[in-house]
Assembly symmetry: C2
Amino acid sequence: MDHVRWLDEREARAWRRFQSLSARLDAALARSLADGSDLSYPDYSVLVVLTDQPGGRLRTNELATELGWEKSRVSHHVTRMAERGLVRREQCPSDQRGSYVAVTEEGRAAIDRAAPSHVAAVRRLFVDRLTPRQLDALAEISAIGLAALGDDPAGPAPDRQGRGQRGGRS
Amino acid sequence: MDHVRWLDEREARAWRRFQSLSARLDAALARSLADGSDLSYPDYSVLVVLTDQPGGRLRTNELATELGWEKSRVSHHVTRMAERGLVRREQCPSDQRGSYVAVTEEGRAAIDRAAPSHVAAVRRLFVDRLTPRQLDALAEISAIGLAALGDDPAGPAPDRQGRGQRGGRS
DNA sequence: CGCTAATGGATGACGTGTCAACCATCGGGG
DNA sequence: CCCCGATGGTTGACACGTCATCCATTAGCG
């Protein structure tokens, strides 16, 4: 059976728009973050995870899992952020090959400055435009997709990346 | 009023999962495309648009609009694709500063080879897991988001990028 | 006609992401 | 105790995107 099932009209419409939305929304948020702070979107994601951590530090590989990034990506990005003083690498006492990544004071200050306007943008450009029902539908649909990717959204890794809500108190 | 409305639990769940899904789905499709063809995801998108065009060519700026890309991105990417023989730049007779981008035979062959497995992946990883109702809900939600970004999804630019369905006959 | 502003596009620099090695350390058998 | 595979992490090469800048052409208008 070498016959291909192309997407029908309903499927194509949903898929196209979904693709388009994720690309543009991402771009818009990155831009909004870029002016109004000197953090990139990836910077922001890293800082969110770290500042949510008691002690503000995490083993590099746990940071990777938490973000859903490859280890090499984490390594590269941490290097760049460390050069800018946003985070710091620390030795791990119990495992000689391991290391911690820790937020610096400067990192905390940066995300505290950036977060309000970022969350506002998330609301303005998306979340506030959806009804509670739509929010739940979106969560459900996304969960299905994530499951198909072998990634249990409420599963083993307890809450996945990108909590745009700025987890911590502050 | 300097008080920030963070996302509540329902909003955060939907937003987090949506973010996570788009990132991972994109990555998965890129990888699936990468082995099984020598096209990247961006390559694929460009070729879809061009092959859907009568004559297989388009003015550079229309290509940009169609894809939702910045002109500089198009320019860079077309350069890379031209080096690999997938597309070709052509002079525009009516406007001396303009140019066309045209698919080559090699480009057509490449996308014809890549498309079936790509569409299969889109189905397997996402579309086939959703009910018709969910597809419609997703289309609706995405339309709202696109509108918030000032991008009318069924509007002036008549069908936006990323038609994963492989538009043309073949 | 001549000037100016807008348009189409290319380019360089730089930040980002992936892949494929690579190295060190750790842990578990023989 | 030693070796060997797994684990944690880094690095270099390269593709990709964005921004700012630049240049040529074109369109509008006095």
